[in-house]
Amino acid sequence: MKKLIALITVVAMCVGILAACGGGGTAPAGSGSGAAPAPSADGKLKVGIILYDDSCQWAKDIVASVKVLADELGVEIETAIGGTDPSVTKEDVQNFAAAGYNGILNLHPGTIMPELVDICEQYGMYIATSNDPISTNPNSGYDEIKDNPYFAGEVWEDESKTATEIAEDMIAKGAKKVALHGFPEGLASQMDQRLIAARAAFENADGVEIVAEGLDFDKAGAAKNIVDQHPEVDAIFSSVETVSTVYQPLNDAGLAEKVILNCYDPSEGTLEAMQDGTINYVVSGTCADSMIAFILLYNAMTGNRMTNDDGSSPSIQMSYLISKSPEEYEEARALCSDEHPPFTYEELKPFIGADASLADLTAFAQKFSLEDLKTRFGQ
């Protein structure tokens, strides 16, 4: 009997698989023959946001900021965790597509965008990316997708420039023996670009030596090892959030005053860490990118896709907020965080719809800075 059951299983699996194959498995790219996205029961548009992780402050800022726009525009949003594994990102997009979503805001594009755009094309779904630069990543396949009508565009940060600026400032402050800290390269081009730029800046400077590279999935352990094995270090450049990783080891070793340290993305306790002098730079403001990317996506979903003059998808470069003092950081957080999104719906409304111009949106987005925030919110 068992044999019979086993045999039936195999046959059933084969039949099922073949049926699935016949069911659109070979849908050629560009045919758009897949199921058209069905708006949810109340006719709302639905957008899926793909994040590395949905529990950190970085993600909370982004989701809250985008939600302000989504609520005003009557769009439903849901998040998915793309992890750090591109095949999970792909599964997320497939599942959102099957669930009838109309758009994807991807904060984790890496090198898998051509695949994702293919899927979007099959389902008639739009995709925009934000934060992680794809046009400057030679491996991302940007050239293949930039003319695709389902790619709504990217909003990105010049990671190299930001990282170089911080590294050079560290050198100017007298850093001689420096260490790099963060995830191993290869997880996200965003973090890789930061490390590569900082490494280049340190190597090009006279008399500066990189004494250790603590790049490990166990970020806290890597930080502890850097501090304990290289107490001579006087600056640590990190490609990640450092309050939860480098802060404690530095303080335990009594090096907090001496070592210059940066931090990407806010977290609880960042302000205190700046005030007590452990962290000297904080890079924040990524939620502004996501809001602009959401506008691009919304326009595409409602049939008003914005394009460059040659018909290619927009690529808008924005700037981070680099805070070099606790006061600056406090101001930045007061005007750009989950509690106070960097743009209001009223400000972005002119860029929505058929008459909106990409040039205006780009100009508006590129103005983004702490000064701009202060002027706009009248402080």
Partner: protein, 333 residues
Amino acid sequence: MTVKHIASNTWKTLIWPVAIFVVFFALIRIFNPSSAFGNLTSLNSICIQGILSALIAMAMTCNMLNDRWDFSMGIICVTTSFIVSPIVTKFNLGSWGLLILCIVVCVILCLINAGLYLLIRVPMLVISIGLLMVYETLNRVINDGKGAKLAGNVFTIFGRAPWIYILALVVFLLFLVIFTYTKFGYNVRALGNNQAIANNIGVNEPKNVILSYVLCGVILGVAACVNASMKGNIEASSTFNNNMGMMFTAFPAVFIGLYLYRYTNITWGIFIGALCIALMKAGVLALGLPSAVQDIGVGAFLFFFIALTTNQGRFLDYSARRAAMKMARQQKE
């Protein structure tokens, strides 16, 4: 046990960390002489990291002596710090409050594991994988997904010398005494040697499981407290809080401990194992190699260590046979 015997056992145990230290120290003096590897601060830090791994390894060993493979240890440790950290911060309970609460929560979570095991009666490995997924979600929900935040507070005395050493010493002694001299310890070993016989001679296995998990919970609670104190801040995402990583780093210590069991007591063996791994990790970084090389090193070392210790008998047999043959040949001539 003669003095000679003790000396020989001590030598066989200590050779491993000493050898690793000497090799790395020599390499570092040649290739990266500016590194601090080998000075007091660096050794202190290596010991502290070794202690954390050893604590988790000991908690795992409580169950592994009886073949209960529990993959949820790492995540219980992390989940505990998420449950405890907001309470401790809110009521300002200080370091001792943190320690006691961690132990209480860990014991409760471990008892859930034990209860499910006795109820469902499938291998612990299987149950723990199901629990792993459940806890992963809880971590994102507890405390609004903010993880554990103790940074900048005064709660962290257990992450530094001298308290971490005192704490570790107490736990090590507790573990040693309980496993060597109590009835519970005898029962654990009896069950480990032969489950069926132990049950037949009247060992109450369910009771033993529960007690093992209580002990495991206490040790894991201490580990959770030390982990939270050392890091100050733990993220909720499983990609970043490294709960599986904690387990996988502790595994080598467990195995090394179990193999060194024949020369020394298990507590000391586990600590030596954990120390070896911590030494190697620090040594690789001090050499200026990429951190991922640590993993290659740890994997290769464990391979080598286990292969050598398991097959020691064979090597000895082989050399004894060669010696015997040589003697026989000489006699012939």
